[in-house]
Point group: C2
Chain length 201, copies 2
DNA sequence: TCGCTACTATGACAGCTGTCATAGCGGCAT
DNA sequence: ATGCCGCTATGACAGCTGTCATAGTAGCGA
């Protein structure tokens, strides 16, 4: 509920993101997106006059926004916020999905980067924006947990890099080993960069 | 010289890897591979009776072997081998390429994973093999530098994960920032896991 | 010369892609 | 009811894809 009440336009963007993260941008057809979204094919042109490029870009932007929102949720769910706890939560979202539903999909932003970084400049921009939008709340969360301001963004970039790379390996291996490994190995480093929290917290 | 003396078959595999890392698997056509390799189109079927799937898989395997070989070279080039030095060399290979030739291509194994992990099982296997073949020499180098045996492979996975993820971000941003960041941030962690080398080395 | 083998050339095939043009529907305001 | 507008339906288009069938060439051994 709630999900299916969205308009066809939003459903198509969502479906595009889902199909892209499964099969890549090039292998995802527009007719397929419409069918997956239970949206009429005749509306594709109406909602996305910019063609596939526009649809893909919006799907990538949606994915970036989604990832950013998740960061806030993870922070809210942590009883004692620590950098390693946040990273573990980000990783766990994926291990949970992979264990529950199989290794079908990866990150749509990664897929867009691989398939369009060279061919479609606007999509490459959309992917860069998505990464930036995702990095920002992570860096802010780190500063809130006591990481010095000039170290927060680099650490956030490291977290997202390690997560994206581990996602690739996990999907290739059909095993979440790489994901759990990076969470375990990177955790202590992340916490060591944070000031000790004041006892009164 | 030497490069162009290879047979057409090997040239096609090499060209396939190059084109795949630029445009992805799906956007890379077989006619395009033959043309790029200056190989006759009529030979495609003869050398690769398994079709595109076989060609892609061999390109991925080639990339994995190439990455593995590079590790040995990096180790040999380091005057004082340290984990952070090895990782810095792995990263620098990419920053050098990006600074010199632009952000045209990424990692072919990553591209194959994104495009084929769900659709083509044999290619997913090839990608997993490539990652494994790449991880092994890294882990062995780490043990040689004093990293405990049970920590070497996880650390190698972390290094490759961070590198692959940073590659994606760098390509999307057309900026090697993410690459240099992960090298700088991960270096101390890697060295801290190695025993102090004996003074006599 | 014959035959065999390795390799190449060429063209055709069905299938799919994104794009576009045209037409039609339904509802709402005037 | 009239006209407009958001939305949809349908079909066609050229272009490309991987695959395949057929034929042809060069070279080498007997």
């Amino acid at each position: 509920m709630g999900v299916s009440e969205r308009g066809p336009r939003e459903r198509m963007v969502f479906s595009a993101a889902q199909l892209i993260r499964r099969d890549g941008v090039m292998a995802t057809g527009m007719r397929e997106v419409a069918a997956h979204a239970n949206a009429p094919r005749g509306s594709l042109r109406h909602y996305f006059p910019g063609g596939k490029e526009q649809l893909v870009n919006e799907a990538v932007a949606w994915a970036g926004q989604y990832a950013a929102r998740r960061v806030a949720r993870f922070m809210a769910a942590l009883s004692e916020p620590t950098p390693s706890g946040l990273f573990a939560a980000m990783v766990q979202q994926w291990t949970d999905e992979y264990r529950a539903s199989g290794f079908e999909g990866g990150c749509p932003v990664a897929a867009a980067t691989v398939d369009c970084a060279q061919s479609t400049d606007s999509t490459r921009d959309a992917a860069a924006d998505a990464f930036a939008r995702w990095t920002r709340p992570v860096a802010e969360a780190l500063t809130d947990m006591g990481v010095p301001a000039d170290e927060a963004e680099p650490l956030a970039t490291l977290m997202i890099s390690a997560l994206e790379g581990a996602l690739l390996i996990a999907r290739a291996e059909r095993d979440d080993r790489a994901l759990t490994v990076v969470a375990r190995e990177l955790g202590p480093l992340l916490d060591s960069r944070a000031r000790q929290p004041s006892p009164g917290d």
